[in-house]
Amino acid sequence: MKKLINNPEEVVKEMVTGLLYAYPTYLKKLDNVDVVVRKTSPVEGKVGLVSGGGSGHEPAHAGYVGKGMLDAACLGAVFTSPTPDQIYEAIKAVDGGKGVLLIIKNYTGDVMNFEMAKEMAEMDGIKVSEVIVNDDVAVENSTYTQGRRGIAGTVFVHKIAGAKAEEGAELEEVKEVAEKVIKNLRSMGMAFTPCTVPAAGKPSFTLDEDEIEIGIGIHGEPGTHREKIKSAKEIVAELMDKIVADLPFNDADEVALMVNGLGATPLSELFIANKEVNEYLVGKNINVYKTFVGEYMTSLEMSGFSITLLKLDEELKALLDASADTPAFKQL
């Protein structure tokens, strides 16, 4: 393992310190827990938005803390969900009197830890609701009740629910629009190389030089299957076939598109992927309303990418267009 770290055990703590040095006007950290909140928290009269998850997905989630998006991000150990006490502190810190919405990605650990925290906060009389993001279509045919994973599409949930909360909407309304996003959100990813969790010290799976892994999640976990390497056009087509068929996205639909790098794929290749995605969508007569290409939710230094489509209506378009000012997502 070759990494720019001091000590595998100190990765999260030192990363947070560096993050705060970088964005002192946006963020502050709560005492004794790895929770990053808006500098101005709690915002009176606004529903608080709390998200988070394991570290290793930067700029998610702390990068989305700021005006128009999240109020707090809870940082777990690398690829490990945050703990209930951490989330509980985050909820208390951002409750501006209108309640708090938890945006959870559908992983067993995340759901359990957030739900334990929700129970703790409710005992304090704080109104707490939750939504569970499950945009990954890679496991669509799974018969398991667990359901799908939440991946990069979560950023759209942060953006749109954040905009709604910023308008002064009630907790129920913010939750409702978040659920509308989740209902219309589909993603899928693939990897060329695995990543190495610092505390583990070695790659989370192995791939031969000519192999790719299709349907990976964002935690270095293996995907649904393995294939021989093929062209960008063919890889995009394989992912898009599953994504488009799933909702399904239909002729004349308007979508927001995200081509998300997983950490080690250069922007040049993400733009090549974006070209292929756009040409694919033209072929289906699906219109791209807004495109996001870059690293939004990474998987350490994994090489690979994911594609997310969000089907839009007028309400979602307006909220997507609303201004946001956070370290990793700025929109004027």
Partner: protein, 213 residues
């Protein structure tokens, strides 16, 4: 046969050591079907238990176990944090105020702990989780005791049942946890959670086996 408070804390000490020794093994098992952190996370949690144990060592067994659970919940993270945390908290609740444990207490606490895990994880036997080691162990413990075997033998039998549960997890597809996303691909891999549960039960069995009573 009774277990005293010092037996309980001795067993905790050995569990902390066993998890440390198996940190890499559990993580490797997790790497095959999950996200490669089970051993790392448990080791972080039990190390925190070791650091904080002096703060509650003077309390009764129930309080000690509840505190162990709270430390695990607030340090492990992932799924195993709330699950093992709930397990120890519920065990503690079941033996609240006690300074010695008899056979009935041991069954009652194990039962309470396991039902806590099932509630929290919404899982059941056969889902390829820690329950696959724990449930057969509890059943065997109860059966052996009801047949009049002593605690040593009963816990030994429970550890064997837990081991068989671990082996069973190799042959089934995961229905819970991150491994469930692999579906059929998870067959052939031993579940890390069942393995850590077995290691803890085996630790208790080995300890009780050495008790001179």
């Amino acid at each position: 046969m009774m277990l005293t408070k010092s037996d309980v804390t001795n067993i905790l000490d050995v569990i902390i050591k066993i998890i440390e020794d198996n940190r890499q093994y559990l993580t490797d098992l997790d790497a095959a079907i999950g996200d490669a952190d089970h051993g790392i996370n448990l080791d972080r949690g039990f190390k925190a238990v070791r650091d904080k144990m002096t703060q509650f060592l003077d309390k009764d067994i129930g309080t000690i176990l509840k505190n162990v659970g709270m430390v695990l919940v607030s340090t492990v993270g992932g799924a195993s944090g709330p699950l093992y945390g709930t397990f120890f908290m519920r065990m503690g609740n079941a033996v609240s105020g006690k300074s010695v444990l008899d056979e009935n207490d041991i069954v009652a606490m194990f039962e309470a702990g396991l039902s806590g895990i099932k509630e929290r994880g919404k899982a059941q036997f056969g889902d390829k989780t820690m329950i696959d080691a724990m449930e057969p162990a509890l059943n065997e413990l109860k059966k052996a005791l009801s047949e009049g075997r002593n605690l040593k033998e009963a816990i030994g039998a429970a550890a064997n049942a837990a081991y068989n549960g671990v082996l069973m997890t190799k042959d089934i597809a995961a229905k819970k946890g991150r491994a469930s996303y692999l579906g059929e691909r998870s067959i052939g891999h031993q579940d890390p959670g069942a393995t850590s549960a077995y290691l803890m039960i085996k630790t208790v069995a080995d300890y009780v086996d050495k008790l001179q009573q």
